[in-house]
Symmetry: C2
C-alpha cells in the first residue's frame, strides 16, 4: 500500500539489521531478523513484557496503549515493541529479559549457547615454498602437497587464485569444501569465509549471513519471493509450469533473483563482498526447492504428488545464477515427500525433533501449512494447502501486515476496537486481525459455527447497539464494518466470502493436525508441546486461534512460538556437516502422510470447517 522507502533498523546488542517500511511495529521488525520478543498478551500492549529501548530514531504509537510505561521510562526511550511503530531509521536495544526464552534457546542452538561449528567449507593457513626453475610444480599440486591431499578444481573464475598465491608470497588461507579448492586468500589478514542460509518460502524469503570461521551471525535480510506474480500458492505456480514448461526458467530466475536481492542486502548491510560467500544452504518446501534447482515440479501437480529427490543436493551456485563466490555450492535440504520439503526438515532440525522424548507437534503456518508429529520415536509429516489467506491474500480487503493494516481486533465496552499499523487510516486487514475478528464474531453471536454471518435482523437481542450497527446487509449476505469510510478512505469490511476463505485455511491446518494425531493414536491433550513456527505464527493470539479452531484446545503454556525454525535449521546446516547428517537422518525417519489420499483427513476437514462451540474455549479456563 505504501511506496515509502524501507528504513534501516539495527537491533542491539546483536547488531542485526533489517529494512522495514515505516509503520512496521518493532515487534514485527525484530521477528524478521529472528528476534522473538515475549508477548504473552499476544502483542496486545497489556502485559508490558516486550519492553525495548529506542536508542536513536523516531517511533510512533500503533495505538494509545503504552499506559504500562512511566513518563520517566518513556523519556529514556523505553517502549513496548508490540505497539510502537518505526518512523525513521532507528537503533533499538533489546534487553535479554524481553526475549522469548524458548526461541532464544532455539536461536542459539539447543545444545548450548552456540551452534555446532564444523562447516562443510574449511580453511587451512599454509606457508609454501614458491616455485623455482627446479621445482615448477603446478600450483594445485603444490597446495595439495602442503595439505597432504589431492586437491580438485571443478570450479571456474577463481580468478585471483594464482595471483593471490604470489602476491601473498605463498602464505595463504586455503578455502576448500572437502577436496575441492574454492578460494585462496592472503594470510596477512583474517580469512573472510562466509556463508548464507536461505529460507525460501512460497511468499517470503529470508537469508542470514554467517561467518563460517567464528560461527558469528553477521546479518539477516528478507524479501518477497519474486515468484508471487506467477501465483500466490505453490499449486498455481506448478500449474503454470505444467501448462508451459518454458515458464520453469522464469520461475527459477524469479526465485534466484530474490536470493540475489538478499545477498545484495546482506553485503550492503555488512560491507562484505559477495565473493566472500563460499557456501550456502537453502530450506524450502518441495516445490520451491525443485524450482530453484531448475527441476520441473510437474509431478507435484498430480497424484501421488511425487518430488524428484529425497537426499539433499549440493549444486553449483553459479549454475543457477546465484551471485555468490563462483565456486560456492548451494546445499539444498533433504525432502520427505509430497509437499513436505526441506523447510519441514529444517524446522525439525531446529526444534531438535530427534532429541525430544514427549509427543510434540510442529506446525509451520505459511501459505503451505506443514505439520510434523513426533511420538514414540516416529515422525509423521504432512502438508496442507492453507493458501495465503493468513497473509491477507484472497480476503476482499486483506493485506500484509504493513502500514494501514488492521492488525488486531477486540470487542470491549460494547464495541469493536481496532489497531492499525502506522499512523494512517485503515486500508485493509491482515491475517491476525482476520482471526481476531472471526473469534470475536463467534463470541458475540455475529457468526454461527457453520460460518454463516448473521443478517442485521438475525442478531442476538442482547447485542450492544454499537456492535449491531456494524453489521450491514450486502446482497443476500451480511458484512461487518471494521473501520467506517472516512473522507479519503473507503470502509474496511469483512464479508461472508472472507469467512469461507478462513474456514478453508484454518480447517486445512486443523484437519492435518487431527489426522496425524489420529494416525499416532493420540489426542491433542496428549501433546507435550505444540511448536508454532513461521513469521505469522509468532503474531497469532492463541486464544483467538483456538476459538476459531485453528489450534487445538490446549493450555497456552504448551503452545510455544519458536520463530523461523526453517531459517534456523538452514543456519545450523550451514555451520555444521553434523547438522546436515542429522537433517538427513530426520528425513529418513519421517514418514510422509499424503492427506489428499486419506479419508480420515476428508472427515477431519469437513469437521474442522465448522467453528468450535464456545464451550471448548471455556473448558480451557482462559
Amino acid at each position: 500500500m505504501s511506496t515509502d522507502p524501507e528504513l534501516r533498523i539495527t537491533f542491539q546488542p546483536s547488531g542485526r539489521t533489517v529494512y522495514a517500511l515505516p509503520g512496521t511495529t518493532i515487534l514485527e521488525a525484530a521477528a524478521r531478523v529472528g528476534i522473538v520478543l515475549l508477548t504473552p498478551c499476544g502483542g496486545g500492549g497489556t502485559c508490558g513484557k516486550c519492553l525495548v529501548r529506542v536508542c536513536s530514531g523516531a517511533t510512533g504509537s500503533a495505538a494509545a496503549r503504552s499506559h504500562r510505561l512511566t513518563a520517566a521510562q518513556m523519556q529514556e526511550g523505553w517502549r513496548l515493541a508490540c505497539c510502537t511503530v518505526i518512523e525513521s531509521e532507528a537503533v533499538i536495544e533489546i534487553p535479554a529479559a524481553s526475549m522469548f526464552e524458548r526461541s532464544q534457546k532455539i536461536l542459539t542452538g539447543d545444545a548450548g549457547n552456540t551452534l555446532a561449528l564444523d562447516p562443510a567449507v574449511t580453511v587451512a593457513t599454509l606457508q609454501m615454498p614458491p616455485p623455482t626453475q627446479q621445482d615448477d610444480r603446478p600450483d594445485l599440486e603444490r597446495i595439495g602437497a602442503a595439505l597432504g591431499e589431492t586437491l580438485e578444481l571443478d570450479a571456474v573464475r577463481i580468478a585471483a587464485f594464482p595471483r593471490q598465491l604470489r602476491t601473498a608470497d605463498w602464505h595463504v588461507h586455503v578455502v576448500r569444501e572437502g577436496r575441492r579448492l574454492i578460494d585462496v586468500q592472503p594470510a596477512g589478514k583474517p580469512a573472510s569465509v562466509l556463508g548464507v542460509a536461505f529460507d525460501l518460502g512460497t511468499t517470503t524469503v529470508v537469508g542470514t549471513l554467517l561467518d563460517l570461521v567464528t560461527g558469528r551471525e553477521l546479518g539477516v535480510a528478507s524479501t518477497m519471493n519474486g515468484q508471487i506474480p506467477f501465483g500466490d500458492d505453490v499449486l498455481t505456480r506448478i500449474l503454470r509450469i505444467r501448462e508451459n514448461p518454458a515458464r520453469l526458467p522464469d520461475l527459477q530466475d524469479a526465485a534466484v533473483h530474490s536470493l540475489d536481492e538478499i545477498v545484495s542486502a546482506l553485503c550492503r548491510q555488512t560491507g562484505v563482498a559477495s565473493n566472500a560467500i563460499v557456501n550456502a544452504t537453502l530450506a524450502g518446501n518441495t516445490t520451491m526447492q525443485q524450482i530453484v534447482c531448475g527441476i520441473d515440479p510437474f509431478a507435484l501437480g498430480e497424484l501421488p504428488f511425487t518430488p524428484v529427490f529425497a537426499r539433499s543436493l549440493d549444486i553449483a551456485a553459479i549454475g543457477i545464477g546465484l551471485a555468490i563466490h563462483p565456486s560456492a555450492r548451494l546445499h539444498v535440504f533433504p525432502q520427505v515427500g509430497g509437499f513436505v520439503g526441506g523447510d519441514t526438515v529444517a524446522g525439525m532440525l531446529a526444534s531438535g525433533f530427534d532429541r525430544l522424548k514427549k509427543p510434540t507437534l510442529l506446525v509451520d503456518i505459511g501459505t503451505n501449512g506443514e505439520i510434523a508429529l513426533l511420538h514414540n520415536n516416529q515422525i509423521l509429516c504432512a502438508s496442507t494447502a492453507a493458501g495465503p489467506a493468513f497473509e491477507g491474500a484472497r480476503i476482499a480487503q486483506g493485506m500484509r501486515a504493513t502500514a494501514g493494516a488492521i492488525e488486531k481486533v477486540l470487542v470491549k465496552d460494547g464495541d469493536l476496537h481496532i489497531n492499525i499499523i502506522g499512523n494512517v487510516p485503515a486500508a485493509g486487514l491482515c491475517g491476525t486481525a482476520l482471526i481476531d475478528t472471526v473469534a470475536e464474531m463467534l463470541r458475540h453471536g455475529l457468526l454461527d459455527t457453520t460460518g454463516r454471518m448473521s443478517m442485521p435482523d438475525e442478531l442476538p437481542a442482547a447485542l450492544p447497539e454499537a456492535l449491531r450497527r456494524r453489521v450491514e446487509r450486502q446482497g443476500d449476505d451480511a458484512r461487518l464494518v471494521l473501520a467506517p469510510a472516512t473522507g479519503k478512505q473507503a470502509a474496511v469490511c469483512l464479508i461472508q466470502r472472507d469467512i469461507r476463505e478462513l474456514q478453508l485455511a484454518s480447517g486445512a491446518i486443523r484437519a492435518g493436525v487431527e489426522t496425524l494425531l489420529q494416525r499416532a493414536g493420540l489426542a491433542a491433550a496428549d501433546l507435550d508441546a505444540v511448536l508454532l513456527a513461521g513469521a505469522f505464527g509468532n503474531f497469532i493470539r492463541r486464544s483467538n486461534a483456538q476459538r476459531i479452531g485453528l489450534l487445538p484446545p490446549l493450555p497456552h503454556e504448551r503452545i510455544r512460538f519458536i520463530g523461523n525454525a526453517s531459517s534456523m535449521g538452514a543456519k545450523m546446516a550451514l555451520l555444521s556437516v553434523k547438522e546436515r547428517a542429522r537433517a538427513e537422518t530426520l528425513r529418513k525417519r519421517a514418514v510422509h502422510v499424503d492427506l489428499s489420499a486419506d479419508p480420515a483427513f476428508q472427515n477431519a476437514f469437513s469437521m474442522a470447517m465448522l467453528f468450535p462451540e464456545e464451550t471448548e474455549e471455556k473448558a480451557l479456563g482462559h
Copy 2:
C-alpha cells in the same frame, strides 16, 4: 580482407561441412574439417594427387595449372583441390585415393578403423513402474533403484526430467556420467547423446560433433579465437590480464563465445539441439585452457612459467557459459608444464606416442610451437613462442590464407612466379609464401645466411634480369617485389623486417627441436619420423621449410603431415574414458623442458637464427 559471407561446403562421402570464404582452396577447406588430401608436390598443382569432384556449386582456378586434367575430366567436375577455389556453396566428393593415408589412419584412430568407444557419458534404457500412492518414492530414487545404484544430481535446469518420465510412461533412456544423472529421454526414439570435442588454439578454434552412442562423427566447424583482439599471441594476452585482472572474464568470455559459435554452427549443420550435447572435451595450450576455465594465467607470465593444474579438470559447462546441455561437463585436457598444455597431450595421444617404439618428434607449428620428442620410452616436451608470423601477422603485408593471399612463390625460367588464392589481385602474402620466398631468395643469392637482403647493387652477377628488377632499395634496406602495383592494388613486397620476423619464428622452433634432441642425445638423422601437426603444418612445402632451417635435413618420407592432432586427441577423449586415462599417463610420463632457462636453447636459437648453407639442402639430394 574480404567481408563476403562464408559459403557452406559439404564434403562427400563423409558429409562433413565447413563454412569458408569465397576464394578458399578446396584443399584448405577440406583440411579445416580434418580431411587431409595427398599433396606430395606441396599443393603446387603438379602431382595431380589431390583429385576431387565438384558435384555442385561454382569453383574457380587459383592459378592456370590444371593442365593435369583432361577436358572430359573437367567436364565431369574433377578438379585439383590445391588449385581450385570455392566461389559458391558446393558439394565436393573426395575419392579415397586422394586422401592422405597417414592422416586417414590417425583420423580414424590408430588401433583400427574406429576410435575406441567407451565414453564418460553413458545411456541405459529402463522401463520402471510408475509412482502410486503406495509407492511414492521420489523420481531419483526410483531411477536409482532400477539402475541398482545411488544417483546424484548436482545439475540444474534438467527441466524436462520429471515430465519426460511421465509422458514416456517411465520407459526412458537415462543419460548419466558416472553416478550423476544428466538427462532423461523417451525410449520411443533413439537416444540423442552427443558430444563436442574442442581444439582451442591461440588463433583458431575447431569443434567436432560426435554421437556418443555410435561414435559417428556428425560435423566439424571452426572459427577464429575471439581473444585475438586482446593480442595475437599468448604472452600478450597474459600480460593484458597481469596488468588488469578484470580483463580475465573478458578473455574468458571471448573464448567461450568462440566455442558457442562452433556449437551453433554444428547444430545448424546437423539439425540437432544444443541440449543433446551432454559432454565436451577441450584441448588447448596451458594459457588457453586456464583462461577458458576462468583461472588467471598470471604465473604463466613470469618465471618459472607455472600452470595451475596438471591433472585434467572436469568443469560444469554451464559454469563458464557454454551453451550445451546445462548438466554437461567439459573435460579439460591434462597439462605438462610451462606452455606445454592439453593440445600437446592430445597430439601425443592422437599420434600414439605411448605405443611408438622408435625416436619420434611431434611438432605443432602454431602461434605457439609445441614440440614433443619420444626416445627410449622418455618423452621430452617444450614450447617455443614462434609468434604468429606463419599466420601472416607481424609481416608487413602478411595475411591469412584467404582470397588475395599469395600462397606460393616459385622461381622458374629466370623470374619469380606467384599463386594467389582466389581470382583477385594479390593483397598480401600468407605463411607458406613467406617460407617459399625466403627459400628462393636464399637459393638465388638475394639473401645471405644472416638474413640480410642484398641491396640492388650487391646482387649476384648471374642473377636473371627479371629477378634483379624485383629487388628495390627501401631506405637503408632492400625489398623484394612479389607482385607489382596495379591500378587498383598496391604492390606486395617482402621487406627486411619480415625476414627478421621469420628468422625469429623459424629459429625458435628449430632451436626447440635441437635442444630436445640434444637432451635425448640424438641427432636429427636418428629420428624415425617427424610428425607435423596443426593446420599450417599441412601446407608447408618440406624442401622450402628445410631450406630456411625450420625443419631439420631429413628425407621427406620421414616428415609426415598428421593433420590436426590436437583436435583428434580431443575426439578420442570424448569417445573414451580409456583414452582419457592414456592422456593422463602421457602427461605424467612427459618431462617439461623449460627452454627459457636452458643455455643450450639460447645457443641453438642464435645458431638457428642463421639460415643454413645451401649444402645442407643438397645433402638430402632433393
